[in-house]
Symmetry: C2
Subunit: 352 residues, 2 copies
């Protein structure tokens, strides 16, 4: 079932476009020291291999900023510089040729400094992401909201940054409103989606370790995407950014927003299961992880319900009492020995 | 941020109540052979230990049905019998004292058989869950929907079962509308939530293996709960039901619907991180998994943003360049050696 996506302004980030009818893109962030060019480039190549379509790096100081050009030349996906407060780092990053910067204009300082950054971004035609984070809302805005980090306070903070840019006739804007609380994150983005037509970059911040952060991100990012909100996403995990990219893709695939590699359908085991399903499903998951072409594969526990319940699968297997079955689009194709099920499945997949 | 929940009719399942203002309950399903009482009871005890609040077992035949009473006597949480088609199994399950049955009245057969089951359920005051599954919608309903399993077709199927029960003045009804497609699942429940006030049992079916199924379930169940829909949930995984219960709890905790044990906040590592965060966060996750009292713990990567961004945490740690810090509610409490951070954190948690 397709999602009706919110109509947003198109913004270009290097060769990629977000907003409008462009696909929702997967973003991640390096956890290397940006100054260490070879480590950073290596991680970006690895991220790209797993489907990362834009990559962000933290720019903490001038020596990191000065390496951005070299990093940029050695990678194939758009490079985003993440900068806090320091307008000179922003200017240097833009000069080095990054494809987008993340900086909050309200935190840069004098009007003069903001104008310099905006002028530089205009000249290079690169967008600015305003990244509001629930942990760092301006005190004057919080005061208006009883010192509570409400979705309204987050949206107000974002809009105040937006206004600074719009007053300078700058509209290549992307916005994020990340909170560690899932409900607050969802509500903040919903509010923002009603107020502006800029593309939104989705994420839940400080989501946690691989397992906990995956659950939190899937709820937050997934809810918003299902409602048509979101133009790029980043899953934040306290783990390798490769894991972030993998989870991001699964979220997009589950919601039918993107296709990449295999979709796996497998039933929970129950008293009806006539086959050792858990290890078999795991093996299928692993054996098909490398597939890049979209294909839906089902691994079902019982012959009676399996093929019928997994009608949507391009191919599937089920079994019971020593016998295995290969089915396609709900119809049983042939019966095989249970111990050859995985091999036979892989042969069929190769044929497809 | 709190969720405004949909108002639903209260339904009792043994000692537990769902609907109304009652908490959203965690359900799982045994994957043992129900006839094997000791294996089933053992798994239920294990499930309960991990927070399972109601448990379902598949009742495939009379010998399984006859064991339900014995299982029931040896467990402490409500027992639900999952039955397909066979009214005699339903009657036997009710006779054995189960707390709820899952059966679709439209699939039972003659009016006479339906009436017998409903009368038995009335006598024992147990509810019936109507469980519509996208893979098994009635042909006559599909025909009306161009043979497409749309959310409307799923809702129509559920309503046709509801009507059978209501015509017999039976209203202790719970409804589920599970699809393997996340968007379809969400849309079907949203539609149903507008049509009836019966409590809804949420789940995405055939969600997949532990990792894939967790993501899919978190999106589907999480989206609906965030919108106030859902009175009980089951995460379906092709894995141990214990894993289902763990994921279910994290979803409920992330959405602020329930409290149990630790909530972990940890930032993604970035170029700013001054500490070996990934293994530290994992260690904290493991060391605190046993805690049952609600507590929010933060593991942050940098001293500058860490304590401030994790203001909501009851307790947190951060570090940088050999030094660790313990903070509470955003305020640094004390500085410790980085290599003693975990121990010091655990001591502080014990004190709380």
């Amino acid at each position: 079932m397709d999602i009706a996506r919110r109509k947003t302004r198109v913004v270009s980030i290097g060769q990629k476009k977000i907003g409008g009818d462009n696909p929702v893109l997967v973003q991640s962030m390096c956890n290397t020291d940006t100054k260490d060019v070879s480590a950073t480039v290596k991680q970006i190549h690895e991220l790209q291999k797993h489907g990362c379509e834009m990559v962000r790096v933290a720019v903490l100081n001038a020596s990191a900023a000065k390496k951005l050009g070299e990093i940029k030349r050695r990678i194939q996906i758009p490079l985003i510089a993440d900068i806090h407060f320091d307008y000179q780092l922003a200017l240097e990053a833009i000069e080095q040729g990054v494809d987008k910067i993340r900086i909050n204009p309200g935190n840069i300082g004098s009007e003069e400094k903001v104008r310099k950054v905006v002028d530089a971004a205009k000249r290079r035609r690169i967008p600015i992401r305003i990244g509001v984070n629930s942990g760092s809302i301006e005190k004057r805005i919080l005061a208006k909201h009883r010192d509570e980090v409400t979705p309204a306070a987050m949206a107000e903070s974002a809009l105040s940054h937006v206004k600074i840019l719009e007053d300078l006739q700058f509209r290549d804007i992307v916005i994020s409103l990340k909170a560690a609380d899932v409900n607050r994150t969802i509500a903040a983005y919903q509010l923002m989606a009603k107020k502006v037509d800029y593309p939104l970059h989705l994420g839940v911040t400080e989501a946690g370790t691989k397992w906990l952060g995956t659950i939190k991100s899937a709820i937050g990012i997934g809810s918003l995407l299902n409602q048509g909100i979101g133009d790029t996403i980043r899953v934040s995990l306290t783990d390798s950014p490769i894991e972030e990219v993998k989870v991001a893709w699964e979220i997009l695939k589950d919601l039918g927003l993107r296709k990449r590699g295999r979709m796996l359908i497998s039933c929970p085991t129950c008293g009806r299961t006539q086959i050792d399903l858990i290890p078999l499903a795991k093996k299928v998951e692993e054996a098909t992880a490398h597939i890049e072409k979209p294909i839906t594969i089902a691994v079902m526990g019982c012959v009676v319900n399996g093929p019928g319940e997994a009608k949507e699968a391009d191919i599937g297997i089920t079994g019971g009492k020593g016998v295995g079955m290969i089915f396609k689009k709900g119809k049983v194709e042939r019966v095989v020995r249970e111990d050859t099920l995985l091999d036979e499945l892989m042969k069929e997949i190769d044929k497809l």
